[in-house]
Symmetry: C2
């Protein structure tokens, strides 16, 4: 066994290397690349993270090396998730805002070094939705929306039991639906986009704005007046310690999320909405406002049918891995 293979958490349970069919999921983020060995049901058996190099060449080399390390496992396929516009069929990453990459023939370039391995490329929000469908819903629903709360808000959609990609593969851009038609200008050109009112950027901007308006909050002390250091994590910490302003900002985000979600569930009538993005710690601050808003704004027979779930699983890698199960890709 090569020394750089990550050890299985519970190798005995799986009968040692190579006895069980597994899938490798890779999520290329702006900061880290996350690798996860996933079983056919979407359970993570083993995982590791490495920092994301800046240059494409370096990242591609690293992917090949790391994938090779996982080969002693019986891997049926490798799924790669990345933020940005991808051509899923051709394995091309057209553009990634996080990584500043353009037109990378990702699958083609890696496959050269790993010729007999099935590989797929997918947008990270789509991959997360597929992960939610498999590992959260356990395929027991047919229609599901997976919302990723990060800097802004992304989403992936599973309909009739299939990942729904749309005409360009960009379906799910919930962050650029209009929340307030006469609202703030968005870099995309529109006014009042959801992303201006939901996500990490919104939380931080709201807090900083309130501090500048001389509102009291313990966050000022927590960052020793260096407002650039305010993060969603610190806002949650302050909210947990009873800070009213921090709590209000989370509530106001919950309300905004409720408005757009009520619209989307009235329109798509899904059975489940899965939230992801490491937000369960702030649940008690945004969830009541979110639920109250949905109750006010969505049809009773529709909202009663939809289950809201907050998941802490790494749905992007799980979904990417399991996308290789589908033979039609």
């Amino acid at each position: 066994m090569p020394t750089n293979i990550p050890a299985l958490k519970s190798e005995a349970l799986y009968g040692g290397l190579g006895k069980l069919t597994m899938y490798l999921g890779i999520d290329i983020g702006g900061t880290n690349i996350h690798f996860a060995l996933v079983d056919r049901k979407g359970e993570i058996i083993n995982e590791k993270s490495v920092p994301t190099a800046k240059k494409v060449e370096k990242v591609l080399q690293l992917l090949v090396t790391e994938i090779k390390n996982f080969l002693p496992y019986r891997i049926k396929g490798v799924g790669i998730a990345v933020a940005g516009l991808v051509n899923q069929k051709k394995g091309i990453l057209y553009f990634s805002p996080n990584l500043s990459w353009k037109n990378v023939y990702l699958i083609q370039r890696i496959s050269k070094y790993l010729p007999n391995l099935k590989m797929v490329l997918e947008n990270d929000a789509n991959a997360a939705a597929w992960g939610a469908y498999n590992a959260v819903a356990k395929k027991k629903v047919k229609n599901l929306i997976c919302l990723t709360l990060g800097t802004g808000l992304g989403s992936g959609i599973v309909l009739n039991g299939e990942l729904y990609r749309g005409a360009n593969g960009t379906a799910g851009e919930i962050g650029h639906m209009t929340l307030y038609p006469d609202g703030l200008r968005c870099p995309c050109g529109n006014y009042g986009c959801v992303e201006r009112y939901i996500g990490a950027n919104y939380l931080v901007k709201q807090v900083v704005g309130q501090i500048r308006r001389k509102e009291h909050t313990m966050l000022t002390g927590m960052v020793v007046n260096d407002l650039k250091k305010i993060t969603p994590e610190l806002i949650t910490e302050a909210a947990n310690r009873g800070d009213k302003l921090a709590q209000q900002v989370w509530q106001s985000m919950g309300k905004n999320l409720g408005i757009i979600l009520a619209s989307v569930i009235n329109f798509l009538n899904p059975e489940m909405v899965v939230f992801t993005g490491g937000i369960s710690g702030a649940k008690k601050f945004f969830l009541p406002a979110l639920e109250e808003t949905i109750k006010k704004r969505a049809f009773p027979e529709i909202r009663k049918k939809v289950k809201l779930v907050i998941s802490e699983k790494s749905l992007g890698v799980i979904g990417a891995a399991l996308l290789t199960q589908n033979t039609d890709i």
Copy 2:
């Protein structure tokens, strides 16, 4: 040939009765019931309309009688479209706001008298979307939204080449997505619903409101000061005769339609949007504002991919008829 069979428009073309496979579509509206004999491609071969009776019993009797009249044609199935909440699998109409009917076991009750005929029941907006997919898009796109402009705004959705119904069969309630979060109260309980800003009710209310604010319009004269007589058709007529207020009201509706449509196409990334509801006469008044708004608000790569089509076909009956082609129903 029984005397009450509607004569074929071009019987010779189709080789006489019974030579060609056809489908019967029925659209039960609040005022009329529309019957249409449809070929497998969605062309209407023959059609008739009868007034809608008030009582369920009367309507069911009438349906049986009229369907029997069509039987000499080689009909493979009968599809019935109706506004309201339906259980498509069981053929039950749970509730129809137009007809004030509740829990009508429609297919079961008609089938008793027509035992060997395949029948399906579908919500009218879903049926129209299926009609648009077959008779407008000719199945050349996979993802399509069909918008029905009437009193308010309805929609049906075809995704991955399938009619998308959602968890309760109510998917497509675009009229109750939120357009202005702090806007007008809607009977559904929400504030700022799309239906308050788009559709016949909106047009008429806007005009009446402006007249009460002493704005000049030829519509006042056209209805001899009886403002209750103002209709969307009259507003279009006035707009065609150069009336500025009538033109502005259509434009403002075009802008509202553009806002919600930009949101929906950013979210679902469809290949086609089909408008129906007898609005092509007003096209020149609302379409420029609609297109300009979409250009401002939707992603360029998404809006360039989507084709907007205004159709004057009776998509509800066509879609209802063709839904019986699917063997899985």
